[in-house]
Point group: C3
Chain length 142, copies 3
């Protein structure tokens, strides 16, 4: 069995940023030498998500607008912000992360390629504020 | 390590259709010869989801009603539909897909069987219109 | 390839309970002897979810409040409850489970440790009532 694990550091810029990490994923699969197996893309944070969708700005804005409606930053009170003592209240970020519950994505690897569809891109989604982040990319197989 | 990958073609019929693909999953696991490992069920599309739940029409209608409330097709405007130039506006489909964020499901395989619970069925969910679709089923293990 | 599969039985206490199963996950990884691979945490139920987030009561209450708004137990009618004939109506539980669509979580294992972030805990979430439950924890790798 072959195994390759890489941490890629990111500096996000704002709440709601979708960072396209598809090329990161392709790079790790290539360096792994795995022909048949899986790639797991994992966020070790509690206020981020890993999503697969189309890279299209209109969609991303539509989605962020819906998140703002469902779990707004302003105009809704979060118990987390009372108890947490954090300098930057992020109760909305935790609730959004739980609702999406996308800590990771798993993609099959076949003939040394991740089997992403034509329009699929892999995104690291910042649901908190601009922060230093990590994304773990792991390939296993043969 | 054993590895089996199959693409199953589907023709969906309407937005909100839940296609029960449990037998497809069981078939690939059987043909794989894998006794201990995992099966990954993956949608290569940006407006579909793979869900595990009960096959019960009432639940499915309840769920679609909620989706219609959260991200309605009519009565809410989507930037995606303005920029996309698609013949068939599907901004609601992209937003629903991102909210569910279920591009794939992973199920343990033990003693050559996927460890689905008594009431669990695997569904390919069409969140767009009737379209030609693919679902990738991959089994790895020993 | 090494493989270890364990079922852990749980008795949940109420709808909305977050059971912290992080120590269960750590234990199975340790007993597996796997140094490089993955751990899959899988719920075989149709009204539960497996989530990864912070163990902080304020956040958990915020999240449950949002679930109560999106798919309330009282004050919204569910077709599932009409057709199902169950003694305990749980249409809201099925809808919540589908919305979260977190039947499982996959976590990379590196140097014999699951790569959870500093604040990440693994939760088994009861979205139905107090019930006898199972959670499957499977480690594969080398």
């Amino acid at each position: 069995m072959k195994h390759r694990f890489e941490n890629h550091d990111l500096m996000t810029e704002a709440c709601g940023q979708f960072v396209d990490i598809t090329d990161d994923v392709l790079g790790v699969v290539e360096r792994s030498g795995v022909r048949e197996g899986q790639v797991v893309v994992y966020s070790p944070h509690t206020t981020c998500a890993v999503l697969i969708n189309e890279l299209e700005d209109g969609f991303i804005q539509d989605f962020l607008e819906l998140m703002d409606e469902i779990a707004p930053r302003e105009g809704r009170s979060y118990r987390h912000d009372l108890h947490d003592g954090e300098e930057f209240p992020n109760g909305h970020s935790h609730v959004r992360t739980a609702l999406l519950s996308s800590t990771s994505q798993t993609i099959p690897v076949v003939d040394a390629k991740p089997m992403l569809g034509t329009y699929q891109r892999v995104f690291f989604c910042e649901l908190d504020r601009a922060r230093q982040r990590k994304v773990f990319i792991q390939v296993t197989g043969e």
